[in-house]
Structures are given as C-alpha cells and as structure tokens.
Symmetry: D2
C-alpha cells in the first residue's frame, strides 16, 4: 500500500487507485480476526507448546498484535508488548499488557512474536540472550523483522527438526526455535479461512467496480480509501453467515441522526 | 460535536474549531475504557444484580457498546446486541455476540442497555413486553434513547425505591426497574475516574494551545481533528502511570518505515 | 467450620453437624462467583480506581482469589498472585498469572488484596515498601490478614477520607489507602446479592431438614459434608432463574453410566 | 477408573489400587488445560473453521467441557451447553453459557462437540436436523457419544475429504462434517504436549512408589485417591517451568492455620 502512496506523492501514479487494505472490514479480518486464530494454529502445528503459563512478548500492538495478544492471553499465556507509538502503547496498558523494551524481558521469554512491519526488531544481540528453547516467529508483513541473516554464521548450527522449524544451536548447546525462517507464520504454518478470503475478494471486486463505474472526475490520479458505504456493503453481505439481524432506522430516527437510512452510518475515520 | 460540523457546513462557523472528541485517546477513554468499568459500577450501586448468567441486550455496538459488552461478558452475562451499521454488527459477531432485533429477544432479557446516541430505541411497546424485574438503563449520550415519556401515563405506577431507581409497575403487577429515569447511567450512578478526566483535560488544553500558536492560515473557519502528533503526545504523557517503556526507532528503522522518529506514527484515520 | 472439625477431633461434638460451607454450590457462590463481582464493586465504591493497566497482587489463589483475579484481569488489570500451595500455584500459572513472593513485587503494586484466611500476610515491613497511593484491602475471612495493628503507631498519621477509607501517611508524605481497616471488603464496602443469600439459606435449610429427618444411626456425633444429592437439589432449584433446561438421562444412558436418573451424578469429591 | 471401583465393590480387587486419574493435578491437566488448547487445534487442523461468530454447542460441562467452552468463547464463538447435572449446569450459567437441550438448538449450530463420557448423546435424529456444513466431533472419553453407527446406512453417502475428515451426505445434498469418525478429537487430530505427559507420568510414578513403600496395612484391597501431599509434590515439581515462586508459611502462620509447613495444605475434597 505504502508504495502507492509514495508513487502518488511523487506524482507518478498514472491511474486512480483504491486503498482496499485500509477498509475497516478487510483490515479487521486480515489482521485482527485472522491473526487471533492463526497465531495459535501456527504455533501448535509447529511446536510442542502448551500456552498456559508461557511468557510471551509480542512486538507491535497494531491490529495483528492485538489479535495475537488477545488469543494468547485468553489461553493463559502471560503476555507483554513492545511499541513505538504511545497511543497503541496506552491501549495495551488498558487491555492489561505490560509495555516493555524487548531487551528488558528477552531473557525470561518463552516465545517472541514480531508484528511491527519494521526491520531488525529482533536483533542478533537479543537472539544471543534468549533462553534455551525460546520460540521466535514473525506475524508481521515483512520477513526482515527478525534478523535471520545474522543467524547464518559459522559459530551457530542450524538443525531442521521438521518442516518450517529450525533449531539454531549456540556453541554452549542453547537452542532457539525459529519458525518459517522468519517468514510470516500465518501464511507458512497456518491456513487462511475462506471466510477471510471472501471478505478480501469482495472488497477488491467492489473497489474495481466502483473505479470502473465512477463518473469522470470523481477519482483523480491519487489513492482513495474505499467509500464507507461500500465497506458497509461488504460487511452486510457476510452477516447472513452468522444469522445476524440488522436493525433498521425509522424515518424519525434517521432524521434525528442526520443519516440516510441505507448508510453510510459512520464518518470515514471511524474504525 | 455534530453541531460544530453543522455550523461549518452552513458556513456559520466564525472561528477554527478542533474536534477533540474524536481524537483516538480521548474517545477510547471516554467511551470504551470508562464505560467498560462504569456499566458494572452503575448497575451494582443501584440494583441487587448478580451479573453471572444474566441475559443482557446492548443496543449499539460502538465504543460505548463494546465497553459494556466486554465487561458484562467477562463477568458471566450472556450478551446480545442490536445494530444498524453492518460493520459494527460484523464486529459484534466476531467478538462472540449474537446480533438481534430488540423485539425478537425483549421478553427474555434481564437487562436492557442503550448506547446508540439515537432516540426511541426502546419503545413503550417493548417496555410492555419486558419480563418482571427487567432492568432498563441508558449509557448513550442522549436521554431520549428510552422512551421514558411514554411511561408517564396513568395506568402505570411509579415507585421510587431508592435514589436513581424507579420501579414502573404495570396493572398486572409487573415491575420494570428504570435507572436514572433514562439519563446517562455512567454520569448519574457511577463516577468518572480522574484518570479519564486527565486525558480529556490534556487533550482540550493541547488543542487550545495549538489553535492559539498556529501560524496564520494553518486553520480556517472549519472543524479539524486533533493533529495525530498531539494525540500521541497526550498518550505519552499518561504512560508513566503504568510504568510503560516505549521503544524508540533506530535511524535505520525510521528510514525503512518512512517515519519521523518522534512521530506521528500512524495515518490520521488509524484508531 | 474448622472449629467444628476441631471439636469433633477432640471428641467434644455432642450432636451430628453438617459442613454446609463446603457444599459445592454454596462454596462456589459465596466465594468464587460472589467475590468475582464484589471485588470490583468494593474498590469502585471506595476509591477513584480505574482497573485498566493497574498492577495488582492477589494473595491466595483459592476460590476467593480465583474470583478476584478473573474479574480484575478481565477489566485490564495486570495481576500476579502469591500462594503457599503448589497445586493452586500451578493453576494460577495455567490461568495466566505470575506466581511471586509478595516482597519481590510489593514496590510496583497499585493494589494489594489478601484472600488467604491466614494472618500477617501483609506485614508492616511490606506496608513500608509500598508506593504512594497503593490500595490495600482484604477479601479473606479473617481481619488479621493485613497487620493493621502495626499501622497504629505514632510515626504514622491516619486520615479518614471517607467512610471505610483511611489514608495512612508516612513521615515522608507517602500515603497508603487502607480499605475497611482491613476487614472484609465484600461485606464492608459491597453488597451480597440476594441470589447468593438464597443459595446459602437453601443449603442450610436442607441440611437441617436432612439432620432432622434422618433415620437414627445415619449420622453420629461427627461433621458431615452435605449429601451430593442435596447439593444438586439446591442447584436445580436455582436453575429456572436462568431459564436453563437440564437434559435427562435415558434409561439406557443411566445404565451405561451406572447412575440413577435422578442423581447424584458425581462422586463426592467432585467440585 | 470406574472399572476399578466396580471390581472393588464386587470384592474382586486383589491388590490395592490408586485412582491417579482423579488427583487434582493430573485431572486438571488431562482434561481442563489440555482440552482448552486441543479443541482449537483439532478443529483448525481438520477444517476451514474460523471461530469468531460460530454457534457451538458443547455437550457436557465437566472439566473437558469447561476447557472447550473457555477456549471457544475466548476466540469469539457463541457457545451453549447441555448438562444432566444441575451443579455443572449452574456453573455454566455463572460462566456465561446458556444451558439448553440439544434438540432445541441443533438446527442453528455450526459445531457440535460431545464431552460427556456417555453414549448416544448425539442421535441420528439430531444428525438429521443439523444444518449443512455442521461440524460434529467428540472430545469425551468414549467413542460412542455420537451415534456414528446410525450414519452407516444406505441412504447416506460418506466422502472422505482428507485424513480424519468425512463428509456425510444426505439425499438432499446436506453435508455434515464428521471428525475422526467420532473418536477422540484431541488424540486423533491434535497432539498432547509433553508437559501434560510429564504431569501424568510423574503422578503415576509417585503412586507406584507410594504403594511399593507403604507400610503393611496402610492400603487394603481397595481403590485410593492419591494422597494430597503427593499430588502437591507433583505440582511443585512442575512449577520451576513457570519461574513460579512459592510463599512459605512462617511458624506462626502454620500454627494459626493448623497446617504443617510442608503441606498438605488443603482437605482431600478440595479441587
């Protein structure tokens, strides 16, 4: 996505573009809801972990981090987080997670999970300080979050114990369990439910239809968020799966709220 | 807030205005985090309720509704919600709440809570169908959500059982427990922690300072969201209360992310 | 209860006695379910606390401690526990609570809660090390858990800030917030729902009826647990409140399980 | 286990036996803690399920049922339960689960899970009424809980879609997804963490040592529960994995409580 915005900023975007990724529905499903389940699935399929009582640090408390933290906490893990953004950090506090620097806690952790979108979030120095058996994996969108390259050095031995699972062995015998060589755990070691794919595909299709049908001049050579109403439409198409019954505004209520009875129901920035 | 936008739309706003209400930090504290606690507090101070096993319907799954639902579910209540907005409804599904129409469930409910911002969400007809002992209260921002006026009719008897608590008695002896005469429960029957007030006051003060200090021309006669960086600043000022330790970006990381090391860290629409 | 057992041991019990306190239903309601709600209620009524992000230590992870921990964690507090019993300690681990010694964490805590049944669980030395504003209260069944007597000494100033709330002020100005002078918070600063009282009263009444009606020789001068079947009967009498529908065993199923269709359904030690 | 008790009742047990299965530590790990994780793992490995918003009925609210319900609810499923035992049913209510008869809800369910230990809990008639795509599986200890035999009839087509997963196809095209042919999901489609095995093996080993070392006459030809103190010892051996620090009773405290400083700390029936 950010590439599109950079092209636009540089004046090099030659067609209108829709940032479907940041539509509320798609983002919540791709990140929060999907990762809430796949972090558990990915860890279970690859390791012998029992979640109860495990000390876990999650790097990044965005939607992916929130999903991972919720699931792990619910299953009895003791979770702390790292953040650069004070708003997300404060949310983590209010949700019951200690906000720490990675170096402060790295020695005690049983599991280290990255979901920042950044690079070198877990450094070789930190890998050196992990305890024996520590599991390291990446749920973020780049595979540079863990400095895996630094582990490919002669003093360390790599042992592939099963598909997607490497033991990195230090000279003193300490083993760190690296999953999917630092690539995305949710894609490498779990599956994405078709329900999530349906949300994504529907969002993309509607965005294309909108761009195709839009009267000339509505969209310029820029990047747009999906119109709120279409985002709501994607959601409404998926509600019958849950036998969910929406309430309709009465005329009087719509007038009182200053809303159209068919939406959109919220301002654009509402998530 | 919406009054400001209406003035602006009508071209009648004669100074720049800051919509502090929709800053992320203030909104989450005023609505989500504060109500998560005050719904429990308000109900406990006024009634004999035990939350475990109670059937509760929450009307509206915005930030206030999300806070109420989280708290009540955590204490063992069985919660369902009503919504007009398909995006919020889908979120409710994913969070484990059935999405229903009020009329479908009203007969079984032990507690009915409104947090929609709308009017006549609970009608006289629905009040007539509630079961004996049903508790009705409002956590939303208007006191028209419950049609209390319709209860002031000769066939019904009002009995004040204690401060903020009325029993409305039907001719057949059925009693509905109305809290705070339909006014805001969190303000009437609970307290707002000073921590929440501090977030609000800090946000307002910073907004005023920004408007006062801004170079001419930065703000016109319009309504603005608080700049992300100031929202982040409000959050960062409150982190020491939790002994939270923020991580700082390295130069390399900031460059990789295309971010200033001091923020803002997220796009404006990020919540 | 333990007095009865001591009398019995000493051969001084002159009538049969029923230990109603340890019936499953009564115990879960008096301790787990009731305290899960009253810990929140008691703290909210007496202090300005916001639970989110608060560091809390709960001393004792029995039924009362489990209730307190569940509720506080659910509302975003960061909770750790102390225990003497390895089985309860292991349960705390699996439920996601760090098991610590009080002295290790006392400096960082925002709230200290005792529920051990023991004495001097919080000592003067630990009170001396608490941080400014730390809240101390007792949910256990004795009021000796906090060494309150040690606080009645000339160098400390007591300031009653409202009913049930004392600030104990150290010479350097540090204030510790003592609730209910160390007596039971749930009884002093919260209310017991009538539903809990109904469970207790029903259990006691049935125990008396059983003792009165029992054929001679069934009960000797000893202490007995309530017969499982009567414990189940107490529960079944309270199920209609929740519109709960029990399943009945078919003849074939009852035979397969070796159970009477009307219970008891579990061995005596089952909780 | 129940076989041992039947032998004992019939006077046919020719050696002392230890019921290790009902030791607190082993039972909680084998049933509550292990199943809390394996229900998720088993469903994820075999199906495309997304837990959020799914309607699930769990038959039986013993330790296994409690584990399944906790995990599924935490991940956003909407869970109801069936029970024959009013005490367990009341616990389910207080934990936020509706207690229903299977026939009342079977049509709406997305997932049906048995954990009763009983037979024919899910009958052919109920299988006939399930909706298309409903997932059926067994977490209990017998594989007669689902009447699988009734599905092996000419009008139904079985289609093996992958290992451990059969689609049973009704003449009208409806498919029910049967996992592991009704055998235990946790053993067939998940893994048991070595930590759980360690608890079990340690318990068994200690029981054998106790029986071997016991002075003549301590144990007769009967079935015994593991002495509380050994149960506590098993727990204490596993605490270092969690870096858990037990508190020790002072002499004064031990005397006050009437306890030995080294345990046992609780009466035998305490769970």
């Amino acid at each position: 996505m950010s590439e599109l915005y950079q092209l636009s900023k540089a004046g090099k975007l030659c067609v209108p573009a829709m940032n479907v990724n940041d539509s509320v529905t798609k983002q919540k499903f791709d990140n929060l809801y999907c990762c809430r389940e796949s972090i558990l699935d990915g860890l279970k399929r690859t390791t012998d972990i029992m979640f109860g009582g495990k000390q876990v640090v999650v790097c990044g408390y965005g939607e992916v981090g929130k999903g991972c933290c919720t699931a792990l906490k619910a299953l009895g893990a003791i979770v702390c987080i790292t953040e650069i953004d004070p708003i997300c950090a404060l949310q983590a506090c209010m949700d019951g997670f200690r906000v720490v620097k990675l170096s402060e806690v790295i020695r005690q952790m049983d599991v280290v999970i990255t979901c920042t979108g950044n690079k070198n979030v877990v450094t070789r120095e930190q890998l050196d300080r992990m305890k024996n058996g520590c599991i390291v994996c990446n749920m973020g969108h780049s595979n540079t979050e863990i400095d895996v390259a630094s582990l490919r050095s002669p003093e360390l031995t790599w042992e592939r114990v099963r598909s997607q699972v490497d033991h990195i062995i230090w000279p003193d015998g300490k083993r760190v369990v690296l999953l999917a060589e630092g690539r995305l755990l949710n894609l490498s070691c779990s599956t994405v439910p078709t329900f999530v794919l349906s949300i994504t595909a529907t969002t993309q299709a509607l965005a294309l239809i909108e761009l195709f049908n839009a009267p000339e001049g509505r969209y310029k050579q820029d990047v747009y968020l999906l119109p709120k109403k279409m985002d709501e439409y994607v959601a409404s198409l998926h509600l019958p799966n849950f036998d969910a019954h929406l309430t309709e505004l009465s005329d009087e209520q719509a007038k009182y709220m200053g809303l159209n009875k068919n939406g959109p129901f919220k301002p654009n920035y509402y998530r």
